[in-house]
Symmetry: C2
Subunit: 206 residues, 2 copies
Protein backbone atom coordinates (compact mmCIF):
# COMPACT_ATOMS: atom_id res chain seq x y z
CA UNK A 1 0.00 0.00 0.00
CA UNK A 2 1.39 3.37 -0.92
CA UNK A 3 -0.42 6.19 0.74
CA UNK A 4 0.73 9.66 -0.04
CA UNK A 5 1.24 10.93 3.45
CA UNK A 6 0.84 14.66 3.21
CA UNK A 7 1.88 16.47 6.28
CA UNK A 8 2.84 19.93 7.38
CA UNK A 9 3.21 21.32 10.89
CA UNK A 10 0.03 22.62 12.45
CA UNK A 11 -3.64 21.88 12.10
CA UNK A 12 -5.92 21.84 9.10
CA UNK A 13 -7.90 25.07 9.29
CA UNK A 14 -11.65 25.25 8.87
CA UNK A 15 -11.58 26.61 5.32
CA UNK A 16 -9.13 23.98 4.12
CA UNK A 17 -11.16 21.24 5.79
CA UNK A 18 -14.35 22.46 4.14
CA UNK A 19 -12.66 22.40 0.75
CA UNK A 20 -11.15 18.95 1.25
CA UNK A 21 -14.47 17.44 2.31
CA UNK A 22 -16.63 19.61 0.06
CA UNK A 23 -18.98 20.39 2.90
CA UNK A 24 -19.63 23.32 5.19
CA UNK A 25 -20.26 22.82 8.87
CA UNK A 26 -22.90 24.69 10.85
CA UNK A 27 -25.37 24.13 13.63
CA UNK A 28 -29.12 23.90 13.18
CA UNK A 29 -30.59 24.55 16.60
CA UNK A 30 -34.18 23.34 16.82
CA UNK A 31 -36.41 24.71 19.55
CA UNK A 32 -40.07 24.19 20.30
CA UNK A 33 -42.58 22.70 22.71
CA UNK A 34 -42.69 19.01 23.45
CA UNK A 35 -44.56 17.32 20.56
CA UNK A 36 -44.11 20.39 18.33
CA UNK A 37 -42.38 18.25 15.73
CA UNK A 38 -38.72 19.15 16.45
CA UNK A 39 -37.44 15.60 16.60
CA UNK A 40 -39.46 14.43 13.62
CA UNK A 41 -38.24 17.33 11.49
CA UNK A 42 -34.66 16.95 12.72
CA UNK A 43 -34.72 13.25 11.98
CA UNK A 44 -36.26 13.68 8.53
CA UNK A 45 -33.73 16.39 7.68
CA UNK A 46 -30.83 14.23 8.86
CA UNK A 47 -32.07 11.32 6.75
CA UNK A 48 -32.50 13.47 3.67
CA UNK A 49 -29.00 14.92 3.99
CA UNK A 50 -27.41 11.52 4.61
CA UNK A 51 -29.16 10.10 1.57
CA UNK A 52 -27.47 12.88 -0.42
CA UNK A 53 -24.10 11.93 1.02
CA UNK A 54 -23.98 15.00 3.26
CA UNK A 55 -22.91 14.23 6.80
CA UNK A 56 -25.39 15.50 9.37
CA UNK A 57 -25.67 14.34 12.96
CA UNK A 58 -28.46 14.80 15.44
CA UNK A 59 -27.83 15.51 19.08
CA UNK A 60 -30.93 14.73 21.10
CA UNK A 61 -32.10 13.44 24.43
CA UNK A 62 -31.30 9.86 23.51
CA UNK A 63 -27.61 10.32 22.82
CA UNK A 64 -26.90 13.26 25.17
CA UNK A 65 -28.99 12.86 28.29
CA UNK A 66 -27.91 9.23 28.71
CA UNK A 67 -24.31 9.92 27.75
CA UNK A 68 -22.37 13.15 28.03
CA UNK A 69 -24.96 14.81 30.27
CA UNK A 70 -26.04 11.86 32.35
CA UNK A 71 -24.53 13.48 35.45
CA UNK A 72 -26.83 16.50 35.15
CA UNK A 73 -30.22 16.97 36.75
CA UNK A 74 -33.00 19.40 35.94
CA UNK A 75 -32.30 22.28 38.34
CA UNK A 76 -31.47 25.74 36.97
CA UNK A 77 -27.66 25.31 37.08
CA UNK A 78 -27.76 21.87 35.52
CA UNK A 79 -30.19 23.04 32.88
CA UNK A 80 -27.77 25.79 31.86
CA UNK A 81 -24.82 23.38 31.91
CA UNK A 82 -26.85 20.94 29.80
CA UNK A 83 -27.35 23.53 27.07
CA UNK A 84 -23.75 24.74 27.38
CA UNK A 85 -22.34 21.26 26.77
CA UNK A 86 -24.72 20.63 23.88
CA UNK A 87 -23.63 23.95 22.36
CA UNK A 88 -19.96 23.07 22.73
CA UNK A 89 -20.42 19.65 21.16
CA UNK A 90 -22.54 21.01 18.30
CA UNK A 91 -19.79 23.55 17.66
CA UNK A 92 -17.18 20.79 17.51
CA UNK A 93 -19.28 18.84 14.99
CA UNK A 94 -19.78 21.95 12.86
CA UNK A 95 -16.04 22.62 13.11
CA UNK A 96 -15.54 19.09 11.77
CA UNK A 97 -17.76 20.09 8.81
CA UNK A 98 -20.61 17.92 9.97
CA UNK A 99 -24.04 19.56 10.04
CA UNK A 100 -24.92 19.52 13.72
CA UNK A 101 -28.65 19.24 14.38
CA UNK A 102 -29.77 19.74 17.95
CA UNK A 103 -33.29 18.81 18.97
CA UNK A 104 -34.06 19.96 22.50
CA UNK A 105 -36.99 22.02 23.81
CA UNK A 106 -34.46 24.68 24.94
CA UNK A 107 -37.26 26.90 26.26
CA UNK A 108 -35.18 29.83 27.49
CA UNK A 109 -34.09 32.60 25.17
CA UNK A 110 -31.00 33.27 27.29
CA UNK A 111 -29.79 29.68 26.80
CA UNK A 112 -30.32 29.78 23.06
CA UNK A 113 -28.59 33.15 22.89
CA UNK A 114 -25.63 31.70 24.80
CA UNK A 115 -25.40 28.86 22.30
CA UNK A 116 -25.49 31.40 19.49
CA UNK A 117 -22.81 33.57 21.10
CA UNK A 118 -20.55 30.58 21.61
CA UNK A 119 -20.77 29.72 17.91
CA UNK A 120 -20.29 33.32 16.87
CA UNK A 121 -17.08 33.56 18.88
CA UNK A 122 -15.67 30.75 16.70
CA UNK A 123 -17.17 31.96 13.42
CA UNK A 124 -19.37 28.87 13.20
CA UNK A 125 -22.81 29.56 11.72
CA UNK A 126 -25.72 29.07 14.09
CA UNK A 127 -29.19 28.72 12.61
CA UNK A 128 -32.17 28.69 14.94
CA UNK A 129 -35.14 26.65 13.75
CA UNK A 130 -38.42 27.26 15.51
CA UNK A 131 -40.73 24.25 15.35
CA UNK A 132 -43.89 26.14 16.06
CA UNK A 133 -47.21 24.55 16.91
CA UNK A 134 -49.85 26.08 19.20
CA UNK A 135 -50.20 24.67 22.69
CA UNK A 136 -53.71 23.47 21.82
CA UNK A 137 -52.26 21.38 18.98
CA UNK A 138 -49.42 19.81 20.95
CA UNK A 139 -51.76 19.08 23.86
CA UNK A 140 -54.02 17.31 21.41
CA UNK A 141 -51.10 15.34 19.90
CA UNK A 142 -49.57 14.47 23.28
CA UNK A 143 -48.00 11.24 21.96
CA UNK A 144 -46.46 10.30 25.31
CA UNK A 145 -49.28 11.57 27.51
CA UNK A 146 -46.93 14.13 29.04
CA UNK A 147 -49.24 17.11 28.78
CA UNK A 148 -51.97 15.15 30.51
CA UNK A 149 -49.60 14.28 33.34
CA UNK A 150 -48.37 17.86 33.54
CA UNK A 151 -51.91 19.20 33.82
CA UNK A 152 -52.78 16.74 36.55
CA UNK A 153 -49.62 17.78 38.41
CA UNK A 154 -48.00 14.37 38.06
CA UNK A 155 -45.11 16.00 36.18
CA UNK A 156 -43.82 19.28 37.63
CA UNK A 157 -42.36 22.22 35.73
CA UNK A 158 -43.43 21.06 32.32
CA UNK A 159 -42.73 23.51 29.52
CA UNK A 160 -45.88 25.20 28.24
CA UNK A 161 -47.99 24.09 31.23
CA UNK A 162 -46.14 24.82 34.45
CA UNK A 163 -42.89 26.27 33.10
CA UNK A 164 -42.41 28.96 30.47
CA UNK A 165 -41.55 28.55 26.82
CA UNK A 166 -39.96 31.72 25.50
CA UNK A 167 -40.68 31.90 21.78
CA UNK A 168 -37.79 32.81 19.49
CA UNK A 169 -38.03 36.40 18.31
CA UNK A 170 -35.66 36.12 15.38
CA UNK A 171 -35.30 32.47 14.47
CA UNK A 172 -33.68 32.12 11.05
CA UNK A 173 -36.26 29.46 10.14
CA UNK A 174 -39.81 29.42 11.46
CA UNK A 175 -41.83 26.34 10.65
CA UNK A 176 -45.49 26.11 11.51
CA UNK A 177 -45.53 22.36 11.86
CA UNK A 178 -49.33 22.08 12.13
CA UNK A 179 -49.80 23.79 8.77
CA UNK A 180 -47.66 21.53 6.60
CA UNK A 181 -46.21 18.08 6.16
CA UNK A 182 -42.85 16.92 7.45
CA UNK A 183 -41.58 16.92 3.85
CA UNK A 184 -42.62 20.54 3.44
CA UNK A 185 -40.83 21.46 6.66
CA UNK A 186 -37.64 19.77 5.46
CA UNK A 187 -37.96 21.52 2.10
CA UNK A 188 -38.31 24.88 3.87
CA UNK A 189 -35.06 24.23 5.73
CA UNK A 190 -33.22 23.06 2.61
CA UNK A 191 -34.42 26.12 0.69
CA UNK A 192 -33.03 28.34 3.43
CA UNK A 193 -29.70 26.52 3.47
CA UNK A 194 -29.25 26.70 -0.29
CA UNK A 195 -30.37 30.32 -0.51
CA UNK A 196 -27.83 31.27 2.14
CA UNK A 197 -24.99 29.23 0.63
CA UNK A 198 -24.68 26.69 3.42
CA UNK A 199 -25.37 23.94 0.92
CA UNK A 200 -25.32 23.89 -2.85
CA UNK A 201 -28.34 22.70 -4.76
CA UNK A 202 -26.04 20.09 -6.37
CA UNK A 203 -25.19 18.61 -2.99
CA UNK A 204 -28.80 17.73 -2.24
CA UNK A 205 -30.21 16.87 -5.64
CA UNK A 206 -27.62 14.30 -6.64
Amino acid sequence: MSTNITWHEGSVGLNERQQLLNQKGFTLWFTGLSASGKSTLASALEQTLLHSGVNAYRLDGDNIRFGLNKNLGFGPDDRTENIRRISEVAKLFADATVIAITAFISPYRADRDSARALHKASNIPFIEVYADAPLSVVEERDPKGLYKKAKSGEIKEFTGISAPYEEPENAEIHIKTHEGTVEQGVQQILDYLVKNNYLTAEQITK
Copy 2:
Protein backbone atom coordinates in the same frame (compact mmCIF):
# COMPACT_ATOMS: atom_id res chain seq x y z
CA MET B 1 -35.03 22.96 -6.66
CA SER B 2 -36.36 19.46 -6.44
CA THR B 3 -34.82 17.51 -3.62
CA ASN B 4 -35.94 13.97 -3.19
CA ILE B 5 -36.88 14.09 0.44
CA THR B 6 -36.57 10.56 1.67
CA TRP B 7 -38.02 10.00 5.03
CA HIS B 8 -39.17 7.19 7.20
CA GLU B 9 -40.02 7.17 10.90
CA GLY B 10 -37.07 6.64 13.22
CA SER B 11 -33.37 7.26 13.08
CA VAL B 12 -30.74 6.24 10.57
CA GLY B 13 -28.88 3.36 12.19
CA LEU B 14 -25.12 3.13 12.32
CA ASN B 15 -24.79 0.55 9.54
CA GLU B 16 -27.01 2.48 7.16
CA ARG B 17 -25.13 5.69 7.93
CA GLN B 18 -21.79 4.00 7.25
CA GLN B 19 -23.06 2.77 3.91
CA LEU B 20 -24.52 6.12 2.90
CA LEU B 21 -21.32 8.00 3.71
CA ASN B 22 -18.96 5.19 2.72
CA GLN B 23 -16.98 5.58 5.92
CA LYS B 24 -16.69 3.72 9.18
CA GLY B 25 -16.49 5.57 12.46
CA PHE B 26 -14.16 4.65 15.30
CA THR B 27 -12.02 6.25 17.95
CA LEU B 28 -8.24 6.37 17.90
CA TRP B 29 -7.20 7.10 21.46
CA PHE B 30 -3.64 8.38 21.65
CA THR B 31 -1.80 8.17 24.93
CA GLY B 32 1.76 9.03 25.90
CA LEU B 33 3.98 11.37 27.86
CA SER B 34 4.09 15.07 27.17
CA ALA B 35 6.33 15.60 24.11
CA SER B 36 6.08 11.93 23.14
CA GLY B 37 4.72 12.91 19.74
CA LYS B 38 0.99 12.25 20.29
CA SER B 39 -0.22 15.57 18.96
CA THR B 40 2.16 15.60 16.02
CA LEU B 41 1.17 12.08 14.99
CA ALA B 42 -2.52 12.80 15.55
CA SER B 43 -2.31 15.96 13.50
CA ALA B 44 -0.37 14.31 10.67
CA LEU B 45 -2.83 11.42 10.60
CA GLU B 46 -5.80 13.79 10.52
CA GLN B 47 -4.26 15.74 7.64
CA THR B 48 -3.50 12.60 5.67
CA LEU B 49 -7.05 11.30 6.08
CA LEU B 50 -8.62 14.65 5.20
CA HIS B 51 -6.48 14.86 2.07
CA SER B 52 -7.98 11.51 1.08
CA GLY B 53 -11.48 12.86 1.64
CA VAL B 54 -11.94 10.83 4.81
CA ASN B 55 -13.41 12.84 7.67
CA ALA B 56 -11.29 12.68 10.81
CA TYR B 57 -11.41 15.09 13.71
CA ARG B 58 -8.97 15.66 16.48
CA LEU B 59 -10.03 16.33 20.05
CA ASP B 60 -7.19 17.88 21.98
CA GLY B 61 -6.38 20.37 24.71
CA ASP B 62 -7.00 23.32 22.44
CA ASN B 63 -10.59 22.56 21.52
CA ILE B 64 -11.64 20.68 24.68
CA ARG B 65 -9.94 22.26 27.67
CA PHE B 66 -10.98 25.75 26.59
CA GLY B 67 -14.44 24.68 25.51
CA LEU B 68 -16.47 21.74 26.73
CA ASN B 69 -14.23 21.10 29.72
CA LYS B 70 -13.34 24.64 30.68
CA ASN B 71 -15.24 24.26 33.93
CA LEU B 72 -13.00 21.39 35.06
CA GLY B 73 -9.85 21.64 37.13
CA PHE B 74 -7.05 19.14 37.63
CA GLY B 75 -8.10 17.35 40.84
CA PRO B 76 -8.84 13.62 40.76
CA ASP B 77 -12.63 13.97 40.24
CA ASP B 78 -12.26 16.58 37.53
CA ARG B 79 -9.55 14.55 35.83
CA THR B 80 -11.89 11.57 35.63
CA GLU B 81 -14.77 13.75 34.42
CA ASN B 82 -12.43 15.27 31.82
CA ILE B 83 -11.67 11.88 30.34
CA ARG B 84 -15.30 10.79 30.63
CA ARG B 85 -16.56 13.75 28.61
CA ILE B 86 -13.83 13.31 26.00
CA SER B 87 -14.80 9.64 25.70
CA GLU B 88 -18.47 10.50 25.26
CA VAL B 89 -17.74 13.10 22.60
CA ALA B 90 -15.32 10.83 20.74
CA LYS B 91 -18.03 8.16 20.75
CA LEU B 92 -20.55 10.62 19.28
CA PHE B 93 -18.10 11.51 16.49
CA ALA B 94 -17.43 7.86 15.75
CA ASP B 95 -21.19 7.25 15.77
CA ALA B 96 -21.45 10.01 13.17
CA THR B 97 -18.90 8.02 11.08
CA VAL B 98 -16.16 10.53 11.69
CA ILE B 99 -12.80 9.12 12.77
CA ALA B 100 -12.37 10.55 16.25
CA ILE B 101 -8.74 11.13 17.20
CA THR B 102 -8.08 12.04 20.81
CA ALA B 103 -4.68 13.36 21.84
CA PHE B 104 -4.38 13.64 25.61
CA ILE B 105 -1.70 12.28 27.93
CA SER B 106 -4.39 10.18 29.65
CA PRO B 107 -1.81 8.67 32.04
CA TYR B 108 -4.09 6.36 34.01
CA ARG B 109 -4.96 2.91 32.78
CA ALA B 110 -8.31 3.01 34.59
CA ASP B 111 -9.36 6.12 32.69
CA ARG B 112 -8.38 4.65 29.34
CA ASP B 113 -10.17 1.43 30.22
CA SER B 114 -13.30 3.41 31.07
CA ALA B 115 -13.15 5.11 27.71
CA ARG B 116 -12.78 1.71 26.07
CA ALA B 117 -15.70 0.24 28.04
CA LEU B 118 -17.93 3.14 27.13
CA HIS B 119 -17.24 2.55 23.43
CA LYS B 120 -17.67 -1.17 23.74
CA ALA B 121 -21.11 -0.71 25.29
CA SER B 122 -22.19 1.04 22.07
CA ASN B 123 -20.31 -1.27 19.69
CA ILE B 124 -18.05 1.58 18.60
CA PRO B 125 -14.47 0.45 17.90
CA PHE B 126 -11.85 1.87 20.25
CA ILE B 127 -8.22 1.70 19.19
CA GLU B 128 -5.54 2.68 21.67
CA VAL B 129 -2.40 4.19 20.18
CA TYR B 130 0.63 4.36 22.41
CA ALA B 131 3.01 7.15 21.44
CA ASP B 132 6.02 5.74 23.18
CA ALA B 133 9.25 7.60 23.79
CA PRO B 134 11.54 7.09 26.78
CA LEU B 135 11.51 9.72 29.48
CA SER B 136 15.11 10.59 28.67
CA VAL B 137 14.09 11.42 25.11
CA VAL B 138 11.05 13.56 25.97
CA GLU B 139 13.03 15.39 28.65
CA GLU B 140 15.63 16.18 26.01
CA ARG B 141 12.95 17.35 23.54
CA ASP B 142 11.03 19.40 26.15
CA PRO B 143 9.70 21.86 23.55
CA LYS B 144 7.79 23.96 26.08
CA GLY B 145 10.29 23.66 28.93
CA LEU B 146 7.71 21.80 31.00
CA TYR B 147 9.98 18.98 32.15
CA LYS B 148 12.51 21.51 33.35
CA LYS B 149 9.83 23.32 35.34
CA ALA B 150 8.51 20.04 36.71
CA LYS B 151 11.96 18.99 37.88
CA SER B 152 12.55 22.31 39.60
CA GLY B 153 9.17 21.94 41.30
CA GLU B 154 7.69 24.95 39.53
CA ILE B 155 5.02 22.65 38.05
CA LYS B 156 3.47 20.13 40.46
CA GLU B 157 2.19 16.67 39.63
CA PHE B 158 3.70 16.49 36.18
CA THR B 159 3.28 13.15 34.43
CA GLY B 160 6.54 11.19 34.28
CA ILE B 161 8.28 13.39 36.85
CA SER B 162 6.04 13.85 39.87
CA ALA B 163 2.95 11.93 38.76
CA PRO B 164 2.73 8.44 37.30
CA TYR B 165 2.33 7.44 33.67
CA GLU B 166 0.84 3.99 33.47
CA GLU B 167 1.99 2.44 30.22
CA PRO B 168 -0.60 0.66 28.08
CA GLU B 169 -0.33 -3.09 28.36
CA ASN B 170 -2.31 -3.98 25.28
CA ALA B 171 -2.47 -0.94 23.03
CA GLU B 172 -3.65 -1.91 19.57
CA ILE B 173 -0.93 0.26 18.04
CA HIS B 174 2.44 0.87 19.66
CA ILE B 175 4.61 3.49 18.01
CA LYS B 176 8.16 4.12 19.15
CA THR B 177 8.23 7.72 18.09
CA HIS B 178 11.96 8.17 18.70
CA GLU B 179 12.82 5.34 16.31
CA GLY B 180 11.03 6.58 13.21
CA THR B 181 9.70 9.59 11.35
CA VAL B 182 6.22 11.07 11.69
CA GLU B 183 5.40 9.69 8.24
CA GLN B 184 6.42 6.19 9.33
CA GLY B 185 4.22 6.51 12.41
CA VAL B 186 1.24 7.55 10.30
CA GLN B 187 1.92 4.69 7.90
CA GLN B 188 1.99 2.24 10.81
CA ILE B 189 -1.46 3.45 11.89
CA LEU B 190 -2.88 3.33 8.36
CA ASP B 191 -1.53 -0.19 7.88
CA TYR B 192 -3.29 -1.27 11.07
CA LEU B 193 -6.56 0.36 10.02
CA VAL B 194 -6.55 -1.22 6.57
CA LYS B 195 -5.49 -4.63 7.84
CA ASN B 196 -8.36 -4.58 10.33
CA ASN B 197 -10.94 -3.33 7.84
CA TYR B 198 -11.54 0.05 9.42
CA LEU B 199 -10.48 1.69 6.19
CA THR B 200 -10.09 0.35 2.69
CA ALA B 201 -6.82 0.80 0.84
CA GLU B 202 -8.85 2.57 -1.88
CA GLN B 203 -10.06 5.19 0.55
CA ILE B 204 -6.57 6.38 1.36
CA THR B 205 -4.74 5.94 -1.92
CA LYS B 206 -7.11 7.89 -4.12
